[in-house]
């Protein structure tokens, strides 16, 4: 089971705090596609642009580490992992 937790604007858009997905050793991109189907709400376009890049200002963490430092959207997630997704507040 992989847990995806949503925060801030994305949580409010989806109206849900987290979902669990029965999957093992799949890419974060494939996981998010499954999540979108399971939620039955548009999700991917909030996180990823048409060039298969993470939209600037979007944080996708796997077990507390930003996937930007891993293999980005090709990073593999596995059973027991926790994915956290949110846009940070940039202003001061």
């Amino acid at each position: 089971m992989i847990k995806i937790k949503f925060y801030s604007l994305i949580r409010l858009h989806l109206g849900i705090n987290e979902i669990q997905i029965e999957a093992d050793k799949i890419s974060i991109y494939d996981l998010l596609q499954i999540a979108e189907k399971q939620l039955d709400k548009l999700l991917l376009h909030l996180l990823i642009n048409a060039d298969y890049e993470i939209i600037p200002g979007t944080m996708i963490l796997i077990n507390g580490r930003n996937i930007f430092h891993l293999k980005k959207l090709d990073t593999i997630v596995q059973d027991g992992d926790v994915v956290s997704i949110f846009p940070p507040g940039g202003g001061g």
Partner: protein, 222 residues
């Protein structure tokens, strides 16, 4: 009796003394910076170093609590210095009206920690270069009606650059006063936690959302 009597009643003389011997660099004297600087002053901090290149504009007044209608066009750090000294004349303040990217550690007086009250990530990545291993940085960010706070300590946590890679958010973000005051207050608490050697947001980011009064902690792994 002195102005810190109610603080001492809560946390005791020893911690009040510790605060009076402590110094914090406040980077950015905008919404968060005004709140953090005033809160630390009222808590009894001994010394503040304020860095901001800006002048007061009318659009600042929804959230920048040290400024008013008489301050337009004036240096933010100079006005802030005057207001903070009026609250506590014994507070030591040094001001720098420059871009954070121009600052180097050798140009600055000593400080125990940094309050990251900046308004963009590029400047924040410069700021953390001013951090040494013995120091802490408390990061705050706000947008719309949500915001986040975390503590950065070299070798103990990820850096801001590691947490926020590739992040680009326009400088002029929408923001309402109440989230600035809440995130600023959480920053003050975590700065004081650090000064008392008990930080709570090491490898953990606190996210506050006003829309439904939610507060979450997101784990950040070193």
């Amino acid at each position: 009796m002195n102005m810190f009597q109610r603080n001492v009643q809560f946390w005791g003389k020893e911690k009040q003394q510790k605060l009076s011997e402590s110094s914090v660099l406040v980077a950015g004297v905008g919404g968060l910076g005004c709140l953090v600087a005033e809160g630390l002053t009222r808590a009894g901090i001994g010394k503040l170093i304020l860095i901001d290149n800006g002048k007061v504009e009318i659009s600042n007044l929804n959230r920048q609590i040290l400024f008013d209608q008489t301050d337009f066009g004036k240096s933010k750090v100079k006005i802030a210095q005057r207001r903070l000294k009026a609250i506590n004349p014994e507070l030591e303040i040094e001001i720098f009206q420059v871009d954070i990217a121009e600052m180097k550690v050798k140009d600055l007086p000593l400080y125990d920690g940094i309050a990251d009250c900046l308004d963009n990530f590029a400047a924040r990545f410069y700021l953390e270069k001013l951090l040494s291993k013995q120091q802490f940085l408390v990061h705050g960010g706000v947008q719309n009606d949500f915001g986040q706070v975390t503590t950065i300590i070299p070798d103990k946590t990820q850096s801001l650059k590691e947490i926020y890679p590739g992040t680009h958010i326009p400088v002029s973000v929408s923001v309402i006063p109440q989230i600035v005051m809440l995130i600023g207050s959480l920053m003050i608490q975590e700065i004081i936690n650090n000064l008392f050697d008990k930080p709570l947001l090491i490898n953990s980011m606190l996210i506050l959302e006003l829309e439904d009064f939610s507060m979450f902690k997101v784990e950040l792994k070193k």
